[in-house]
Structure formats: C-alpha cells, structure tokens
Amino acid sequence: MTNAWIIARNTFREAVRDRVLYAILVFAVVAIGGSKAIGWVMVGEDIKVMTDIGFASVAFFSVLIAIFVGTGLVHREIDKKTLYTVLARPVHRWEFLVGKYAGLMLTVLVNMAIMSVLFLVYLRIMGLVTVAGTDNVAPPVLTYMNLQALVLTAAELAVVTAIAVFFSSASTPILSAILTTIAYAAGHTSDWIMIMVEMLRPAPGAELTFWQWLGQWILTAVYYLVPNLEIYNIRNLAVHSELVSVQPLAFWHFTDTCATAICWVLVAMLLSVLVFGRREL
C-alpha cells in the first residue's frame, strides 16, 4: 500500500497544479456568492435559496472535477506513456490504480472541503446580516443535518469517481466522460427506472408481450447495474431542516448508506483492476 500512497500523493500534487481545477473552484465560488441574488427575488426565502444553491454548487462542481479529471486519469497515463516509468518499478498494477483513485479522491475532497467551508461561512454571514436589527436569531449552519448532507455528497463523489476511473481504464477520455455522465444521470433517476418497469406491466387480463418483457428486463438490469445515487442526496431535506417533519437520518441508516457507497467503490475498482490488468501497455 506504500506505493499506492506515493502514487496518490503524486496524483494530488499534479492535480492541484492544474489550472482547470482553479477555474472550476472560481465558478463554484461565483455560484455560491451569486445565490444571494436569487435569494433577493424570493423575499423571505433568501437563506433557504442560498442553502439550496450552495449545496447544489458544492455537489455539482465536485462531480465536475471528478468527471473532468477522473475520466482522463488512467487513459492519459497510457497515452502519454507516463506510466511506463512507474510500472517498470516494483509496483503492482492494482497499486497504481488504487493510488490514482485515492489521489483523485483527495483532490475532490479537498476542493469540496474548500467549497463547503466557503459556503457555510457565507451562509452564516448572510444569516447574521438578515437578522441584524431584529430580535430574530440567525439560523445555525453547522447542523447535524447539514454535515450528514455533506458527508453523503462525499460518498456520492467517491462512487462517481470510481466509475470515472473504471471507464478511464477501459476507454478514451471522451467516451469515459460520456459514459460516466450517463451513469451519473441514470444514478439520479434510478427511482424513475422502476416506475417505468411498472408502467410496462400489461393491463389486468392482458398478456405480457415480448417487447414489454424485453423493456422490463433491460430497465431492471440498468436499475441493478447503475448505483442509485439518489440515496446519497439528502441536500433538499437539509434545506428544509427547520421543519419538524424533517429529521436527520438515523445513525444506522446513515452508516448503511455510507457502506453502500464503499461497496460500489470496491466493485468499480475491482472491475478497473481486472480491465487494466489485462491491457497491453
């Protein structure tokens, strides 16, 4: 694992020196800062709108980094032959992949942490400004619910990054980016897939046609093959956390969801190792 850690550190160092990362970070800061403008339009709801946009920005721009950097991660190494000098040393191919994944995750998480801190500090300041001169108390920002939402966003990113690394180890950056984006979109519409399966059921008394059967089969396969990313999305709930009906996830539910993410990461990385291990370099 020492080699994987050395490669992870190097990947992180390379990534943080890439200007693309800073461009994405600037966009994220602008989006979080600009949320106040939309908040003004919706009188009385400005903090809620800012929270909503802030969470969405953190998630969206972090996924953007994961896809942008992750999909080229392995292929670029093969294409530019930078991995020749690495794998010609006593380094296993799986160590190389795990190192690349860990380095990218470190990059994504550091960026996410920067965006989250900026977002929460901004939210706190705006909350204090809103209640200034009144008897009201500014809403807390470091709530258990908000932290859960951020941790689960990180779990989602871990899954998306592993998918990006898998596609990157098997195909070109452009194809990887397209496939990862499709997997991301499908992962967030997973519940709809089962609804569509239900819609394909024949009317009572009617027989199941071949096409209905085929459609059900394909959709069910997609449902089980693509991770359901919506289970990591409690950001909307966090926005409405002041409502009595909205409660943080129970501890076991929360850890169970995190464990699911770990399982998906392990599956994606295992497949990556199998594909990459067979590649002629």
Binding site: N10, T85, A88, R89, P90
Partner: protein, 347 residues
Amino acid sequence: MAEEETTPESTGPAGPAKPIRTRGLSMVYRTDILKRKRKALDGLDLEIEPGEIFGYLGANGAGKTTTLKLLVGLLRPTAGEAWILGRSTGEVASRRPVGFLPENPFFYEYLSAREAVDFYASLSGMGRADRARRTAEVLELVGLGGAEEGRIGSFSKGMRQRLGLAQALVHEPQVLILDEPMSGLDPIGRRDVREIILAQRDLGRTVFFSSHILADVEAICDRVGILAQGRLAETGPLENILTREITSIDVAVEGASVEAVPEDLAADTTMRVIETENGFEITVADYETAYRVMDAAEAAGAKLRALTPRGESLEQYFMRTQAGGRAGEGAAGAAEPGAPPEGGSPG
C-alpha cells in the same frame, strides 16, 4: 529442458543467475477488434552476462521495444519466459534491481525535475535521506544540476531524455534497460550518455540498450544482438561479428604515381584512389586485385607501404542482416493470414 523454462532461476551449477535471460520469448499483438494478429517477437533466446554492455539492434518494427517492455513487465509474453537476476519477469520483485528508460520518455508535466526523480526513488523503496542525496547526485550526473527546480513541462526533448536517465539510475540498479538512450540528444549529450553507460559498467552493472545509432553501439558495446523481424539474427562480440568477412583491402604504395595502376582498374569508378605525397593509396575488393596493383607498382619501381584488409562496419553488417531477414523465408514478423502489413507498430 521444459522444467528449466518454467522454474525461476537461482544460483546453480552454471553459477549465479544471469542479469537478463530469455527462453523462447514471444509476443503476438492483437491488432484490432477482429483479433487479427501480428507476431512482434518470435522465440527469443538471450543471455546477458554480468557487467557487460549489450547493444540491441534492429530496424523499426523488428521487436526491440517489445523485448524491453517484456523485460520490465509492461507486456506479458504470449509464449516463453524471461528472468532478471533469476526472477521471472512475471514477478513484480524482478523489477527491483532494474533501471528502465523508455523510448522518448514522458513525465508528469507539473513536477520539477527534483520532485520527479524523488517520486521514482520512493517507488523503488528508498528512504528520505537516500532519496535526497541520490536525486541531487544523478541530476548532476546527467547534466541537469542547474535545472532541478524547473518544471518538466518546459523541458526540451534532450532534457527529458537526461531526466529519463536520471530516474533510471537513481536507485543504483544492477541492471539497466535503456530504450534508445541517445535519442533526441545532440553530439555532446550522446557523448555524455556514452560516458555514463561506460561508468555504469565500471561499477559492475549490466547495461542492455537498444539503439539506432550504430556508431554509439560500435563505440561502447561488449556484445550486440541483431534483431530482424522478431527473430535474433545474430549475437556475439562485435569483433566476432564484424571480422568474419573481408569486404575491402587498402593498398598503400610509395615511389610511384597513380599512373602505375593497371588501366582496367583505374577505369573502375567503384574503387577509391587517393594520391599521397610520394605515392598513392587504393582500395580494392579482393586479394587478387590487390596483388595485381602491387605487381604493377613494383614494375614501376615503387614499393609497398601497407596492405590493410578491411572488415565490415557494423552499419554494413546491420544493413545486410536486415535485408536477409526481410527476404528470409518464414520470417517471424511476416503477418499471419489476414493480418495487416507491418509498420508503425511497437518496435
């Protein structure tokens, strides 16, 4: 024999394990989704002795780079096996005593030269203090002493080549495997690399390198191997390979002018004739012609100063071997039925 090919080497009756040894090493590439095949290397048997510099020659597509990649585990052979100091190249540990320089090496653009070499040193298991010391040493050795903190992205091709050599040397490997180490270097750079390779041999290390620059190979190699279309056409010490045939004879004569040369020979435009201060020199194809020149010169009152038979140059030999390999029946590189013609694929 079969057992010998499948079991890892160790010290045995024949002595310590060879730095590099291959038995029947073969590689077939699948060139496209139709799984058409191209044989890049065919049954390579090779043994490299400790402390020698071995030059690996061959035309583009002959299988040189494929061999080197197989030796460092970047490719897995489709048949046969290779060992580095007795360990099968299938084992990751076989790469520990190896320093590898790929052809036209690429590095992480955003790192400095010092960071890059330190990174490779850490992958070879070196401690922090050793890394710092050796990184500074090898960067100085390859002539990048003043560019330690420079970003690799701004490096010229020659500087990258030098950096490639630095990363290959940093962990003081027993076996150096270098793919075209002089590529991209100016004459001074080539001389520097030749000196580094010779210095490594003086330290008892084994150097196995491929090159297109025959003059460099001729200057520093103890032995050469010539690869033609995936097969080893010839291997041995340079003097054994190159003195097998006499290709020309220089005759130096004193006390007579060029007019002493027989008319039919003087008319032969393929011969080289040079007038000297008090005589002439002539290069002829065989001894019979040389004797005719000598007789004619003696008849004109001149005397023979020197008679020097010339062997093949490495370049001449190489060209002949490659031509033979191409014409050879059942050449290894010949595409299998349905396979595309060779070219532009890994060498």
